[in-house]
Symmetry: C2
Subunit: 505 residues, 2 copies
């Protein structure tokens, strides 16, 4: 055996030994990885334990495809087919995955479902997700003995400070199941009460949100009564300085909606003075819908999550109250009516507000909301502005403390008017054309006006604009062609023709 | 070089080659593990994506140690120290981890916080966890246009079928924010209404839950009035067949609580006949508290999640209604009052009911609840039975359709009575001895009775029994020693002495 062979043997021995060490090391690493994976899959599954299953279930439901025209929810009706919750489709879409569009279906611009904000939350799935333990807040009260979450109240105050739409410093805050519950709580609290005195009169200025009357009449209290339009309380119908004389001990409670529902106007109280009290319904007083000229510093203003975050189903609102006596009365109302607002709702609202505050200093959702509404108004005006048959309300411009500049309103609703004298039933005109709005008579105006909801899903808005466009086009064809008065009939024929499925992923 | 060397070289070559192949394989395996871990930690983190963060946050809060004498919640006030929610401690416990027991602190047996069920849910953390997406049910309605979850309604009917405590077949179900909201909804619905007729009279039989009067009077409607005890409506105060004659058009609405709050009796309506209507408050009609002799098949019965699962903070209840007209009126009440119950609450309630139904055919929670209450009553009776100074209400026995045997009641409350003639203020007697109960006068009985809550945490119950034991022991010492009437004073001295911290992990 020569040196070369010995060297070769020696080298091979060293190589073999090196492979052996590498192999041992590599195998140890294999065991380490294996053990790590085993640990986390059996014991701790990615660092989670008891929440893992629920999280997986929620993600599975969220990933159910509804063709971009609907969504499935965790508590939806279960499909017999796959045991999963069904897709709940946008109007005019159907089928198990919401991909079937019905061309002859009417656009639904009736209700105020604020789904225009749904994309905002879908885009922030991680930030806005909430995990609720089985033992979360089982008790009746928070540690301070109240049924009002201190953390949620704190976030509400923070948000108002960011937006600048309401003074909260030194004010009391009451929670309610939507502003709906707080409206009547406020009426109770502002009424002199005691049953023996003169019942307070509850009034509002047409057009106004009908709940004020319906609710007040339903609760038919000995302490307050719905007493009509504010104009009835103005002598000569001219100005608030010429109010009618009130009977002794009479209080008038005025609902002021600002921005107004249905027309978006930044209203002020009409009746002012001793014994005239105002409840400011500020549901729409957010940059999505209006410039913010100033922070509301009034006695009593009510807000709702519905029109801030879009979570109408959560039933959460709050009142900001100056007077401590009024505050205490509203608290008592909440206690006797429902023992406060659900702790589940308060937890959800807190999560949503935290998500808002964590982005852009709390401003991003308003940029999102405003851009969406602005864009929708541009499209709407583009269609309606060429029409002589229809008109939309003017929108005002104001300096906005939130955006730091003058801007236009972008109201939640179009307040459409039929201009042709013979078309006093504008609701009927639109209905025949495949658009379901809400007739002005619902708001104590006339059906010459129709409220069109602009805050629903994109599908809803696109369909509304589509149908309006057809109406306006028919109007223009009529004018150009001399017309034979059959514009409506022709339009009905038009909308029943086949339209290709619209796909949006 | 001989054959041996060649063989050796050959063997070594083969070995080296084998090591090399093993090494290559092992290295590839490492890459595979690495890639797998990288994928799941960066992209999918254990199979989860958007819910991961929220799940981790919830688990972190749940794992905050409060010494077994409290708990931290996701929406609790944030501690300045560690940025985590603070521990919320059981009565008489304090400190940042609830480990500080205050010996001189009074036992709080006042409220009906149903935390006795908290351990049931903690033990089922995985089954009862709920993940809510940021876009969950933003809209006002379910697909059927109502604000009542079909899945939740379905589970409620299933549960009643398991327990056998209420007929739901062919009945309508209305949801409310706790039974609290439904009580007044029912009064509205059963009143003739219209404002012009005779106001319905609302009555109940003492001792009764004061909300019936407080709520009815607060809502001071023109359609109904609180009109006192049922005995006022019985001619000669003898039997329901000798009711006083009602004025024309007069309706009497009787609240019947069964089992009763405060004394646990299985009451029946006292006033029956035309124009006498009954609202059965069945809050406690579950096996935790009572045998179930039969399924309630009455016109209108109301249940609450509070006393079924213990989730009083969720504010969820339901009414089971026979008459469709009454049902529609209650729906209208819910719509005008709050536009239904929060979708967050309905989702939570569904999760809780699903958790119940998934175990033991829906029976396990009732075994848990009954065993807990039975054990507590045994301890309570053991202490009180040797006393001549105090007595507890008798509990009745009935055949129970749920358990298939005769069993005793295990009421939510002890209805303690001071037997000594001079101790007509039993509430004061107990208060001086470090027990805060709820005086009988709150329930339109006298303060000779005191309601003691037996449904709170184990800490609360143990403390109550502890203080009662001391009272009874002092009584016996007094009797044995001839006594000098200083039993109470001695007891007060006793309870202020140092007591070792009680630890339960």
């Amino acid at each position: 055996m020569g040196n070369n062979d010995n060297n070769n043997i020696s080298t091979k021995n060293q190589t073999s030994s090196k492979y052996w060490r590498c192999l041992v090391f590599s195998i140890l690493l294999n065991f380490a990885f294996f053990g790590y994976n085993l640990y986390f899959s059996v014991v701790d599954d990615g660092g989670l334990s008891w929440s893992r299953g629920a999280a997986g279930e929620a993600e599975a439901v969220a990933s159910i495809s509804c063709s971009g025209h609907g969504r499935a929810y965790l508590d939806g009706v279960i499909s017999a087919g796959d045991g999963l919750p069904v897709c709940e489709c946008n109007t005019c879409y159907g089928g198990s995955d919401c991909s079937q569009f019905s061309p002859s279906c009417s656009a639904d611009a009736d209700g105020g479902n604020p789904l225009f904000l749904e994309p905002y939350w879908r885009q922030r799935a991680a930030a806005s997700a909430l995990v609720v333990s089985g033992w979360h807040r089982m008790g009746y009260s928070f540690p301070d003995g109240t049924n009002i979450s201190p953390e949620l109240e704190r976030h509400i105050r923070q948000l108002h400070a960011v937006v600048g739409n309401a003074v909260t410093e030194g004010r009391f805050i009451v929670f309610g199941a939507g502003s709906t519950q707080l409206l009547n709580a406020a009426v109770h609290a502002l009424s002199p009460g005691g049953g023996g005195g003169v019942a307070a009169g509850v009034v509002a200025t047409a057009p106004f949100y009908p709940i004020y009357e319906l609710q007040t009449e339903y609760f038919a209290s000995v302490d307050f009564q719905y007493q009509g339009d504010t104009s009835l309380w103005i002598a000569g119908g001219n100005s608030s300085s010429e109010k009618k004389n009130l009977p002794d001990g009479k209080t008038i409670i005025e609902f002021v909606t600002s921005p107004n529902n249905p027309d978006g106007k930044l209203n002020e109280a009409v009746l002012k003075g001793p014994n005239f009290k105002a409840i400011y319904d500020r549901a729409y007083y957010w940059p999505h819908f209006t410039p913010i000229p100033a922070a509301d510093d009034g006695e009593l203003k009510i807000f709702t999550l519905s029109k801030l975050t879009g979570h109408a189903g959560s039933r959460f609102g709050w009142a900001i109250v100056k007077d401590e006596d009024v505050y205490n009365k509203m608290l008592m109302h909440m206690q006797l009516n429902t023992m406060g607002v659900s702790r589940d709702t308060q937890l959800r609202a807190l999560k949503l507000l935290k998500t808002i505050m964590a982005e852009g200093g709390g401003r991003t959702i308003f940029d999102f909301g405003y851009q969406t509404m602005k864009s929708r108004w541009e499209k709407l005006r583009k269609v309606v502005s060429v029409s002589k048959r229809f008109s939309l309300q003017d929108v005002s411009s104001h300096y906005c403390v939130f955006s730091g500049r003058v801007r236009e309103s972008s109201p939640a609703y179009g307040w459409l008017k039929c201009e042709r004298e013979e078309e006093s039933d504008c609701y009927g005109v639109l209905k025949a054309a495949g658009i379901i709005g809400r007739g002005g008579s619902v708001f104590y105006a006339t059906d010459r006006n129709v409220r069109l909801s602009l805050i629903k899903t994109r599908d809803d808005f696109d369909l509304l604009v589509d149908k309006l466009q057809k109406l306006v086009s028919a109007e223009q064809d009529e004018e150009e062609g001399g017309g034979d008065g059959n514009g409506i009939e022709q339009h009905v024929a038009n909308v029943t023709e086949y339209q290709p499925l619209r796909r949006r992923m």
